[in-house]
Symmetry: C2
Subunit: 648 residues, 2 copies
């Protein structure tokens, strides 16, 4: 079916879905110039949803920038949702799956537009991301606040971290049917292990299994970054038709419009990466044009329109290598000459940035400019903050306009890791150029510190737990995590000591025993991890080259993009290894096997309307697990794996 | 009209209003035993509202315990509101006043049950208290969150702290009409000054002015506590019929049921003090039975039913004076003997507390017990925390079950303030027995510290500003206030210096000049305040005697109370000094004159339905102000008086 065909299909059969992600509401909230950027972009998303009369809005996580948004931020978000998503427009999408199952974690197990007390004009479906993930004793996310108001349908929330069961939301519009799978953010390492151990189960509708268009939305690392922490596309089951990837801030719709959406040939699905609607780090990936996607689905066919966001602040990110600039030799006033040279260049980019102005009355006009300046000699450096003041009220970020960086010697790249200047690495860590990579690097340094530098041994706390707490604190201002981790690990030690009925005098000794024992079991992973990290870093340092930004097509008036038709493969071409039309199909994927496996026996649920996606889990139980200690799992809410320090 | 008359009146003419206050949601959130107490009681309030089919629920502030409630707390509150207050029950109360005026501070200037996108079964009207007051740059309260969801109608929020205009919400049910005046919490000192300076304006409906039943809800100190910071009943205008007093945690409905509601003879209105629904300090006032009030209003008559809350945790508060206990003389094991004696007494009270059990399945059963033990000799003391462990899992508060206190010598009361043991005073401050008095005492000690003890002088910050920040931090965990105060006062100094174009070398000198100048203007008040505080404290120390708790009538089965009929005075008996049936009446009250004054000219709004309460403010402008520097006021949102350090 091509675009013509989809346009000619009955409107009543076409799902229209607006897809956005990583709106990071509240980002730069304390910056008087930028404090509204995230809200302006989010409002544009909502306006687009209304203008295009979509059936629903799908969000890929990180709606909020902080785990615990400020009162102002939560207020503004609710205000926008109430303004745009409440109204008397009829919703023509039937919700077929069991709402109690899809929203089992929520206090209101009902999709908002079925609530007789609310008039919803635009249903919003969202998973959580790593910024707005659940915290606290009751593991509540700020999305739970939106969920309990009824303004957002928060789905795909894990409730058991030892086993992930992904049941789709089943939607019908006319003759089209969508199975919407969601998986809210889980730490990448944990998710990788879950996949490795066959602990991720996918449930499929048991009636007309092959007639559904299967969308999966997730919020994980997509790139194999420095630490091999990411969700491998090969882990995902082949029955999916379209994967919506949150978390990655770079918009890969423009590219993919030309290339068509990224096609994963081994898994036979398409991947869409809308990217964030606000730049949260001053790096090249974020300086791409920001877009959202308008997805049209008719039966098993889909097409994607890319809609450029017109209220995003202009942003130019450049690198200047002073050695390539034909500057005069070192001497008097070197620093001043460098500054004058840079001023000229920056003036040029400020002009360039004007090309990104769209004429939208809500677009902030003061541009973000980031220049990474590579210098060879200290004499070329200067006070970047004072220099930035030259552009006061001409750029949005005068204080971090310029990033000075010593030019890397070609030779140093090839030396051993240990020979690298530690300070240089730390600089890299702190300069916040690497976007989401911060966490990986921090973990690496923490590991190195305790393992090699200080030779200190943590007695009670585990390193991964501490990493987690530090990351939560720095990234999300989440102070509770420290307390939680301390409590959790203290409790475990106390329990160990109590169970053993240790004499008071032998406590120190036994704590050490406990540590060794734990190290042999769980913490062995840490050593392995460290080893892997080191080799990965050495490898990535070799291949890590600054990518250059392509010239943007600033076709402002016609920015809504062309229409691309993508035809998913037919079910006959797919479904490898699966019986067709199986009832109560459970698909469990392993990262290594890359093949859908396991079929449920014995479920006989008839109608699609309730519980159809429940499947017998016996398939899972027959698996041999590679974990040291497997427990019988009872499915309660929010189980933590006691043997697993990583999440605490 | 007596109770019979009100019962015989047409139901369609009777307003039924449930009144509660100080629910302090989130109180003791970190205490595993008590964390749900506030929510359980609030849920009971909502259940009562539903069971009694009230027209609306009126809350008197401090719905939340913290300025910035935790995610869990906000979630639970919204969950309860959605569960109880949304539904398809028709609302038979007409909202007559201008919603844009009543909700001018809100983003949704509409009463929730008129919103076509929400089905409201129980409208909730609330002011804010001192715990959930607005903070941050945009001065948003957590009630603004509830307001923007549409679950609560947040009213009476001040938007200009230099002049308070109180416009009523006008409601009609059948032939009855209520004018509902609300004033959210303002610091008592400021409010006193506003009254003193004639800066509080009351607006009255201009049609049938005398036919309205006038309710005023506030959240201020009612008692003249140590520091004379309170709202004097005499400040309030005589046209009011009923004042609902929030903030005071002691329930004064039971008493007042017997005495009839407190009648203020000079002002000719009744005062109702429902008290908190959860005990937030372990003092005698909080150990009274907790109630809410069911108010019935028919035309100008009303009656109040008191409804006992049956889910409140049992609480007994006692004082033991060891010198009156016939204990053996001092000697071996004195401390042990005291403890054994107390254990026996506490066991008795634990049994006594069982009488407070109501049989309600949600009532927590573990009692709160607080024993204030007055000792004469150090030998009688002991480790109260270890002692408390004897009652582990038998009381809800083993760690602060006992409060040790040295018996006061009769003579010390009469000595001068300076002779009192400073430590004793500090102990008093920290023991948290005095409930809401903490703030006054803290302020007093801060003033004394800077004035007398350290002889240190604050150069840039003002003491009142610091007091405010410390109080906000301690009571409400509000860290932003420090930053705001610092910014505000720094800005003022910078502006002063910039305006004067000071030379860099003379900055210190000029800052000192500024301080002196400020002291002569604003801070002079501080000196006066200090002087007043001292005399007040000396006075109150003399009259401050522990009050004894009366035996509670634990009539559990019949706890909903008798019906009392209260007949407000007729309008002919009232309205002193006012023309009757005036159009667009503005009433401005001064604390000192105790007489309504000022009538607006020139408004000709006809119908009651819109803007009828707008009044010409010329009456105000003719007043001579006692303040040093009066500015022309433009009414924008959230004006701060720049000359007034107190609120910053």
């Amino acid at each position: 079916m091509d675009s013509l065909a989809i346009s000619e299909a009955p409107v009543d059969d076409i799902f229209r879905i607006l897809i956005a992600t990583d709106t990071h509401l509240g980002y730069a909230e304390d910056d008087p110039e930028r404090c509204n950027d995230s809200f302006i972009a989010f409002e544009e998303v909502l306006r687009l949803a209304r203008a295009h009369e979509v059936d629903f809005l799908l969000l890929g996580g990180d709606l909020f920038h902080e785990t615990r948004p400020s009162t102002q931020c939560m207020h503004k978000c609710l205000e926008l949702l109430r303004q745009y998503c409440l109204g008397d427009k009829p919703i023509s999408v039937e919700f077929l799956s069991d709402q109690k199952l899809n929203f089992q974690h929520a206090s209101q197990t009902i999709v908002n537009y079925y609530d007789p007390n609310l008039s919803i004009s635009i249903p919003v479906f969202s998973i959580h991301g790593n910024h707005d993930d659940p915290t606290g004793q009751k593991q509540l996310s700020c999305l739970d606040i939106l969920s309990v108001t009824g303004f957002v349908n928060y789905f795909g929330k894990w409730t058991d971290l030892t086993e992930v069961k992904i049941s789709p939301i089943l939607l019908r519009k006319g003759n089209s049917k969508i199975a919407l799978y969601g998986l809210s953010h889980i730490k990448d390492e944990r998710l990788s292990r879950l996949f490795r151990d066959g602990k991720v189960q996918w449930f499929r509708p048991d009636e007309d299994t092959e007639d559904w268009f299967n969308i999966f939305v997730c919020h994980q690392n997509r790139e194999e970054r420095g630490l091999a922490k990411y969700l491998a596309e090969e882990s995902l089951p082949a029955f999916l038709d379209l994967v919506v990837w949150g978390h990655e801030h770079e918009c890969r719709l423009e590219d993919e419009r030309r290339l068509e959406l990224k096609w994963n040939p081994t898994r036979e699905f398409y991947i869409m990466q809308p990217g964030s609607s606000v730049a949260t780090s001053l790096c090249i990936g974020e300086s791409q044009m920001k877009h959202v996607a308008l997805l049209n689905v008719c039966k098993r066919k889909f097409k994607v329109d890319t809609l450029r966001l017109k209220t995003v602040r202009p942003f130019i990110c450049e690198t200047v290598s002073l050695s390539e600039c034909n500057l005069p030799e070192l001497g008097d006033n070197t620093s001043a000459k460098v500054q004058d040279y840079l001023e000229e260049r920056i003036n040029f980019w400020i002009d360039e940035a004007k090309k990104q102005l769209t004429g939208h009355d809500k677009q902030p006009t003061l541009p973000l400019i980031r220049v990474r300046v590579e210098y060879k000699d200290e004499e070329q450096t200067f006070n970047t903050i004072r220099f930035g003041q030259r552009f006061h009220s001409r750029v949005a970020n005068p204080t971090d306009l310029v990033l000075l960086k010593r030019e890397k010697k070609a030779s140093s790249r090839k030396t051993k890791d240990n020979d690298r200047d530690e300070r240089e690495e730390l600089d890299e860590l702190l300069e916040n150029e690497s976007g989401e990579d911060w966490e990986s690097k921090m973990n690496y340094y923490m590991l190195r510190y305790f393992d090699e530098v200080s030779r200190k041994t943590l007695q009670v706390l585990s390193l991964t737990g501490m990493n987690d707490a530090v990351t939560s604190f720095v990234e999300k201002n989440d102070k509770e995590k420290f307390k939680m981790i301390l409590d959790h690990q203290m409790n475990k030690v106390c329990k160990y000591l109590c169970d053993k009925k240790i004499d008071v005098d032998r406590i120190d000794e036994e704590i050490e025993n406990y540590r060794i024992q734990r190290m042999h079991a769980g913490d062995q992973q840490e050593r392995e991890e460290l080893q892997r990290l080191k080799s990965t870093r050495e490898r990535t340092q070799k291949i890590e080259e600054p990518t250059t930004i392509e010239d943007e097509d600033t076709d402002i008036e016609n920015g809504d993009g062309d229409i691309t038709i993508i035809q998913p493969v037919q079910s006959t071409q797919r479904g490898r290894g699966r019986g067709s039309r199986a009832r109560g199909t459970t698909t469990t994927t392993r990262a290594t096997t890359s093949r859908a496996r396991g079929r449920a026996r014995g479920t006989r649920a008839g109608a699609v309307s309730a519980n159809t996606t429940r499947a017998n889990t016996s398939a899972a139980s027959s698996r041999q697990s590679s974990r040291t200690s497997q427990k019988t799992l009872t499915q309660t809410r929010l189980i933590y794996d006691e043997d697993d320090e990583d999440d605490f």
